[in-house]
Symmetry: C2
Subunit: 347 residues, 2 copies
């Protein structure tokens, strides 16, 4: 079969690899029909050392179950399924609490980092298939597939940001970052009723999609000027909820500057740093809280899927380009160059 | 009148100062009848540069109103009152939301840092008296005064830690730090029904008071050993809520090590650092939240005072020493030497 391999920063190739197969009784083998390149894939694309490669990549997919191990009970051959970006057993105490990204099963973990599997490929071995995969309706129609694919990561991640930020009809929200996750955080904040949603971004195509998703205001300024503009819009003291959907220190500092006393910074961009300001001058003085982490999207699919199926939301609009597997390397470069927002892959 | 002045680290003196007087129409002048030395006073006692001194000190007091400005309406001459450690107007949007420590009035702020007033003194000018002071029952009796004095800071601060940590009957709590705030965080967690309360501390007198206040377990080990012991006790993965009541980097790291995936670190010890680990390896990977800040104790007095008056709680037990104003310098040293937990001052 063919799969995408990242050899080093800037070096993505599609090659023949050994066929994925069922190995354990709890596995499923899925023939991938839709996949994607994620904004978070751009971090290794910018920095992967050659010694760490080649790595299998991709963590968002929809596909058809081709085979299941004898212990799999919730999906069967022929089922159309979506996979969260994390593998989880569905039974441990964290899974039961809705925090599947902290599943303690030895086979649990993220698709990123699986040595022999990746979603930018023709097929994939899914460990812990019962806990990981979610069955989709049999024939949702091709128009719904991009939106359903966002259940694998970016919609659930935007929703997670809004949920752990405590977004409600009474909250003013600012979203830092106009990538797919930031835009779907806007959609999620709107879905949860936020009265004000300020999107910080400067890419016109993205911010106009942000408006479509529910942003009430767009701020293109950054730094001190951007902070002042947001505080002005948000009643003078900042936003109740700041969703940080980038992961850089600059975005973190922007979030700190924007958060209202007693407010919360909800992070879903994977931090590209370990230490950050949290002391008296940044968070402590005004009781600003810090929340977020990898989204347990598995926990949110049951709530979000009906809204996609009935047309209430159309998160698949974040895909503004598509490619076959052969087009994946160019897709990476186009996303890195910010020529396109998010690439939909038809393997 | 006489007041305490901190000249530099280790150099506390009680001297004659100009009498405090009513200056603004919203002021009250209070004759102080009970005050205290706070664990947080030990930070400047350890580090104040001579150029920054002499500073008026003390931020916890009960006293009798001696005079009020013409605009003061909620307290009057002769009233027994308690003051939170923060001055607030009671009317701004943050005060109305119960975050009086972020009051935006120009005269609002902390007692610490007021250039000409301090609570370790015979009298004090209270700005924004209506928003700041809370009237106590006329004659609570001397036995209740130490407990009522804890409403000024340490009880409200322990309660804040428990509240922003989300303590409920279903939560397992660990408290890092056996100072007065840590012990009253134990009491507060118990009051809110926490099923397990682990106190990390190694001073036998303090930890036994912790048990009296409701700690179910005591861990004296620190570092990796302490973390392992707590995780063991708390079901293997750590505590739902970790209350960090110290403020050092060591205590922060302890808290990170103890927090359960999806849990919260609730900080009320003033951080002695600005940058700290918050990235993938510390908080982000397992969706651990960071909360806390200066406690808006003004917001909690109405809820906590009845429990003191009816004897349900006796937070005044944290006072294990008392002194006149003359004894304040020795009180500082005794607290710094950990000979005593907290000094009650009768000016």
């Amino acid at each position: 079969m063919r799969a995408t391999l990242m050899y080093a920063a800037g070096d993505v190739r599609v090659e023949e690899v050994p066929d994925s197969v069922v190995k354990l009784p709890t596995d499923a083998l899925v023939r991938i029909t839709a996949s994607a390149i994620c904004g978070s894939d751009l971090w290794p694309y910018a920095s992967l050392e050659p010694e760490a490669g080649p790595a299998r990549v991709g963590h968002e997919f929809i596909g058809v179950v081709e085979e299941t191990g004898p212990e799999v009970t919730t999906v069967k051959r022929g089922d159309l399924v979506v996979s969260p970006f994390a593998i989880s057993d569905g039974t441990c105490e964290f899974c039961r609490a809705g925090l599947q990204t902290s599943c303690v099963h030895p086979e649990a973990g993220f698709w990123d980092g699986q040595p022999a599997e990746g979603a930018q490929a023709e097929a994939i071995r899914v460990p812990l298939a019962d806990g990981t995969l979610v069955k989709l309706p049999d024939e949702p129609g091709p128009a719904l597939i991009p939106s359903l694919l966002t259940l694998a990561d970016v919609l659930g991640t935007g929703h997670h940001a809004a949920v752990v930020g405590g977004v409600s009809p009474r909250t003013r929200v600012t979203v830092v970052g106009d990538g797919a996750v930031g835009l779907l955080a806007v959609l999620s904040a709107r879905r949860l009723g936020a009265e004000q949603i300020i999107l910080m971004g400067r890419h016109p195509g993205r911010t106009s999609l942000g408006r479509e998703f529910g942003a009430t205001d767009i701020i293109s300024a950054r730094g001190a000027e951007g902070i002042a503009a947001v505080r002005d819009l948000a009643g003078g003291y900042g936003s109740d909820v700041v969703i940080e959907a980038v992961g850089t220190m600059a975005a973190y500092q922007q979030a700190v500057g924007i958060a209202r006393p007693g407010g919360v910074i909800s992070r879903v961009g994977v931090p590209q740093f370990e230490d950050a300001p949290v002391g008296w001058d940044s968070l402590f003085r005004h009781n600003i809280r810090l929340a977020g982490g990898p989204a347990p999207v598995r926990a949110y699919i049951a709530e979000l899927m009906p809204d996609i199926l009935n047309g209430t939301i159309e998160p698949g609009k974040v895909f503004d380009a598509s490619a076959s597997l052969d087009g994946v390397p160019i897709g990476y470069q186009d996303m890195a160059d910010r020529k396109v927002l998010k690439v939909f892959i038809r393997p």
